[in-house]
Symmetry: D3
Subunit: 134 residues, 6 copies
């Protein structure tokens, strides 16, 4: 179904550059599970490595935004970009990091409200208030 | 510049249905400032009222997500939907609710990362892992 | 401001392939006004001609959808695609074809509602009901 | 497949806030069929109620735009936002309200043409003509 | 699964306007295969014909951009517009025209990078440098 | 106009982490010009550095896709994502790398055609042909 082949663990074992990333994903996440996104990206070890390192730097490094909130923001963007896989995977991760049903519902309400006013604003071409300028 | 006229305070005073909403915006926000979005929507008092009440229910009602985080999620969706006015107004509101420069930078990093992987996933058509299904 | 030069009437006069399209736009619309979109496309006469003929076939030919409604649908798509110029030009055309303020407000309400439920559906990944299948 | 559970009729019966909305949907639409969108939203009765009331106000209330045309506009926005479920459900509703095959084809032609010129305009960054300003 | 019926070869044989387009697709592509896009569009012979002629003019006519590169650009746009079918069909065509795995990976890297910086730019509302103006 | 301050050269001189990136941009591009995107990102030196290194790896490293073609693909994605700044900056870069007017017109034609068929496919929900599956 994908436009590239998904790499199995057996195949990954044979390609050191892929094995190294898979090992790091497993160590970082403290889980044996490698999801399909990484198995797809593995067709190009350099792209796999760059993408994983970028994601690790943003999502798996202590920062100023709570890890669960980071996943909720990820879901928000993925929804607006209509990425089905990303909605599934990051909703699962937000839940794994503690998102309750009430928070999930509130996230959906904010995303839907933003979409609604985004479209109203664009349809009316509202000029930016000087008060909002830096 | 807009496709509808922006309503001035003088004009709003003369239309009870608009005045009522403007008054409620001012009371709810504890500020005299009415931004252009509401002045544009005011060309249709019913649409103005429904939109404001929807927004108030989601953004100005105590809930399970922190008010500053709600604005950050709003910025994320508005960015993905390419709504310039919304990016300006909700970034300003997130800052007003305490978003620091470090949090702003982290928000941008998450939004940009999500966009990057959203596009990778779509270009590779990665199938959803059974593990992510409810 | 554009990424291509906008062609003036004087320049268009000197290029028969452009002049022919500009003449046809004026004759079809019964107006001397050539809007910037066509002046921009004119940098490539073949692209100008193909685009104008495609638009004329869909928008300026009698069909089963009312001309004002066609413009409203155009505004809806242009809003969702965040095309500022297109929102301006097709809102102007819808008004020129009789769209009232009440209809404009109703159009905005439908567009905004659709955006809202589009995002809810995507965020929840709702499966299509068998009842909706052809 | 969804990121939330779809509520069955049996489960809805046991939650008065959900049952009330499902009853109103059935009464308003004069049909026993509750489509999956509402069954998904039902995981949060307040979000379900607000969304249904918003939709009823825009889509199921007499106004200035024909009910079939409203559904066609809904399809247009849903297409541009790449919402598969919404395209299915609102195409079905447009057909149920009388959209013929010829009208469907014409709708698709307008949506596709708008997308085409939206992208041309954005790629050329055409400045808005003063004639289009309100 | 589609919102229109897919036309079989037997049905196409009976409608001269559809048969003529199917014949031309086969002759132009030197292949007997008619993909589902054309079978879907065939429900409206005029839309089918206009769409095919537009596509043939852009994609199957000698020009200044290499045919494989044209397909790669097509994949890029289809990815950003979240069109699953289009990603599948044009990735297949790019491969058929010689796109290697290394080029595919590089294409994905560019698309993902562009999406990333597109979102950063929009979130920061960066003003266009005068140096970039025509 | 931006939601962050644009950093001047004088300010950048005083922040080693920013100065290092600006120096590398100038050295890599063999030009003294630093465009606004980098001046905006400079508000967060770590984000600036990560973004520049990502871009350099994809756009300024020898690979299998011609540098001018890379910029054309960038323009295609930026157009579909409605990023005005990105359309301006990458169109300028494509021209700087040799894109002719004829190639520019052909690029626009492909982008517009893709958008048109993307929307047709989504509106018809065409199922993927088994022939396109990997």
């Amino acid at each position: 179904m994908a436009t590239v082949k998904l790499m199995t663990d057996a195949e990954a074992e044979a390609i050191p550059a892929v094995k190294a990333v898979f090992d790091d994903i497993r160590a970082t996440r403290k889980s044996d599970f490698i999801n399909n996104f990484w198995r797809a990206l593995a067709f190009d070890p350099a792209l796999l490595k760059r993408t994983w390192e970028g994601l690790k730097a943003v999502m798996a490094t202590p920062g100023t935004i709570d890890p669960m909130v980071r996943e909720m923001i990820y879901v928000a963007v993925s929804t607006a970009n209509a990425c089905q896989y990303c909605v599934h995977s990051h909703t699962a991760q937000a839940k794994a990091r503690g998102m309750t049903e009430a928070q999930h519902a509130e996230l959906l309400a904010i995303v839907a409200l933003a979409a609604q006013t985004n479209h109203l604003v664009t349809a009316m071409q509202v000029p930016v208030d000087p008060e909002f300028q830096v």
